[in-house]
Symmetry: C2
Subunit: 328 residues, 2 copies
C-alpha cells in the first residue's frame, strides 16, 4: 500500500478531529519491504506530510496494510492438486511463485474419419444428385478443438471395408477415433463390421433419439466411436458421449453451462428412448424445436441448447421446469 | 433413410400380422434422390426383400422418410442474423449450403502494457527486496485471448512519464490499451496523469472493492483502461469491465456462466462500495473467501467464482441465496 510505515502504537487515537503528529515514519510504496522498526502502513488518504512531521488522521493496528511473509502461501503448502485445470490467475500465481513450468496431462489426440461414398469435400463444386458436402467432420473437428483435444481430420473414406480398415489402422496413434457415417443398418454400413473384425465392438445401437446407430469399439488401445451421418444426431452424440469422454481423458472436470426454464410447449417423445430435444430460449421459456428429421441443421441454428427427456417418460408437459444444456 | 422407395398408397394397411407385397419399389440409400414415381421410403427394419417382391410390415404416409426440397432452408431464407456468434454446427450448416466464406467482425486488438519499476519479467531470476514478478500482464493476456480478442503484451514500462507516454503512443493501432499498475494515488502513479495530457481521462477511481484505482481514458480512437497492480483487483476489473467491453467490441453477446447457491457464511462489505467477493463452491453452498489483501492470489486459486455485493448493502447474511459468477 502506498503510504507511510509507522509504529502502530504511535497512532493510537488518531482521527480527523484529533490528528496525531509523528516524527518517526518512512515513505512506503506498494511492494516495498517495511523495515523491522515499523509494523503498519498508514494510507496516503489518512496522512498529510507537514514540514517537520507526518499528520495522521486514522489509527492503524499492527500489520495494517503490511503483508507478512507466508501470508499468501507458506513454504510446503499445496497450491494446486492433481486434476486442477489451470485458469489465467492460477498461471499468474504459479509465475509469482517463480514456477514457470509444471507437468500437465496431455491433450487427447483425436482422429476424425468421415466415411461415405456420397460425400464431397466442402467447397468441392456443385453437388450431383445423391451427393452431400462432408460437414460432420468439420463440425466434429471444431468441437474437439474447442473441448481441448487435438483433432486430425482425414480425407473422406468411401464405403469400402478395405479402405475403412486402412483408415482405422493408420490412426492407431490416436487416443480416440471418431468415425462418422457408415454405421446404420444399411448394406453399405461397414464401419461396425470392420471394427468387430479389427478389435472389439462393445455397442452398436443405442436407444437414443436422434443417434440410434451410434457404435463404440476398441481397436488396440484406441477407442473408436461411430457417429451417425445425420448432422443433428452426430451433434447429440458429440455432447452426450464425446465431450464427457474427452474431458475424462484430459483429466478435466466437465462443466456444461445449464439454465432452468419453463417449457413453452409440450414435448412428445418415444418411450424407451432417451430423447435429445433442441430448444430456443425466449424470455425465460424454452421453446422446443420439434422439426422431425435429424438432417435438419437449421433447427440447430435456431437452438440455444437442448433438453433431455428420460427414456421412462412419454414426453414433457407444457409449463414444466426443465434444465437446458446450453450449446457453446 | 436406407430402405425402399414406394408409393405410399400401395402400403395401406401393412402391419406385421398382415404384410403387403409390392412389385414396384426401388432400393434407396440415405441421401439418394427419390424418383418422382415414388413418394415415401419404407425403412429396412419394416421390409424384407423376397425373391419376386418386397414384403412390407408397416404402412407409410406420403413423404415419410423423404426430405422435400426446401424443407430445411428455402431459397431466400435468412439463416443467421448480424451478431450471431458462429458455433460449430452453424459453420457446418453454412458449409452444407455451399457457403465457405462469410464476413465477420474483427476481433478487437488489445495492447497490454505492464508498468512499474519494481517489476521483473517472469522467470527473470530471484527477486530482490521490493521487486515482484510481472504476472498481471500474463494473466490479462491469457484472459484477453480466451475472450476472443488479439493480445499484444509489451515489455515492462518503468515509472517514468516519458516512457509511459511512448508506450501509449506506440500502441495507437490497438482498439484498447490495458495499462496495469501506476494508477493509485501514489507519487509515482503516472498513468492517469499522462493519459489526461494525451487524451481524455473519463474516470479515475471507482467505488469498488477491490479495484478502487481503476481509470478509463481515451487517446485518439483507442480506449485505455488502467487496472490496479494488485492481482485480485486486476482480476475483478477484468471480469467486470474488460470482458463486457471486449464482447461488445466484437459484437458478441456476453454470457458468463452463473449458478445459484446458498451463502455458507455472512459477507461483510463496506457500504457505498460495490464488493466483489471470491467464493468456493461446496455441495451447493458458496463459501466466501474473505482473506483481506488484494494481493492474495492464492484466494483465487481456491475460488470457483465471485459474488457481487451491491453498494447499497452492508453485506450479505448467511443462508441467503446468491448468484455466483463462475471463473472459467
Amino acid at each position: 500500500m502506498d503510504g507511510y510505515a509507522v509504529r502502530s502504537t504511535d497512532t493510537k487515537g488518531a482521527r480527523p478531529s484529533s490528528p496525531v503528529f509523528l516524527e518517526d515514519f518512512l515513505p512506503i510504496r506498494t511492494g516495498m519491504e517495511v523495515p523491522e522498526d515499523y509494523d503498519a502502513v498508514v494510507m496516503l488518504e489518512d496522512s498529510r506530510l507537514r514540514e517537520d512531521a507526518l499528520e495522521i488522521t486514522a489509527e492503524v493496528h499492527a500489520y495494517r496494510n503490511v503483508s507478512r511473509i507466508g501470508e499468501d502461501i507458506r513454504q510446503g503448502d499445496v497450491v494446486f492438486r492433481d486434476g486442477h485445470a489451470l485458469r489465467p490467475p492460477d498461471i499468474a500465481l504459479l509465475s509469482a511463485l517463480g514456477i514457470c513450468s509444471v507437468q500437465v496431462y496431455d491433450r487427447p489426440k483425436v482422429a476424425i474419419i468421415p466415411t461415405g461414398s456420397e460425400l464431397v469435400p466442402i467447397g468441392g463444386g456443385p453437388l450431383k444428385t445423391g451427393e452431400a458436402y462432408e460437414i460432420n467432420g468439420l463440425m466434429t473437428e471444431l468441437y474437439v478443438e474447442k473441448w481441448g483435444a487435438f483433432a486430425k481430420r482425414s480425407d473422406i473414406v468411401p464405403d469400402d471395408p478395405e479402405k475403412i480398415r486402412d483408415a482405422v489402422a493408420s490412426n492407431q496413434d490416436a487416443d480416440m477415433i471418431i468415425m462418422i457415417g457408415g454405421t446404420s443398418v444399411g448394406e453399405k454400413d461397414f464401419a461396425p463390421r470392420v471394427l468387430n473384425e479389427m478389435g472389439e465392438l462393445f455397442v452398436h445401437g443405442i436407444r437414443i433419439q436422434p443417434g440410434k446407430p451410434t457404435a463404440f469399439a476398441q481397436v488396440g488401445s484406441t477407442l473408436v466411436v461411430c457417429l451417425p451421418g445425420y448432422p443433428v444426431a452426430a451433434l447429440a452424440d458429440l455432447y452426450l458421449y464425446i465431450r464427457p469422454a474427452l474431458k475424462k481423458m484430459a483429466h478435466q472436470s466437465d462443466f456444461l453451462p445449464k439454465i432452468r426454464a419453463r417449457l413453452a410447449r409440450k414435448i412428445p417423445s418415444r418411450p424407451g428412448y432417451l430423447s435429445v430435444v433442441r430448444v430456443a430460449l425466449k424470455d425465460g421459456t424454452a421453446e422446443p424445436i420439434m422439426i422431425s428429421g435429424a438432417s435438419i441443421l437449421s433447427s440447430v441454428a435456431r437452438a440455444d441448447g437442448y433438453v433431455i427427456v428420460p427414456e421412462e417418460l412419454e414426453g414433457l408437459e407444457e409449463g414444466v421446469n426443465v434444465e437446458v444444456n446450453l450449446f457453446e
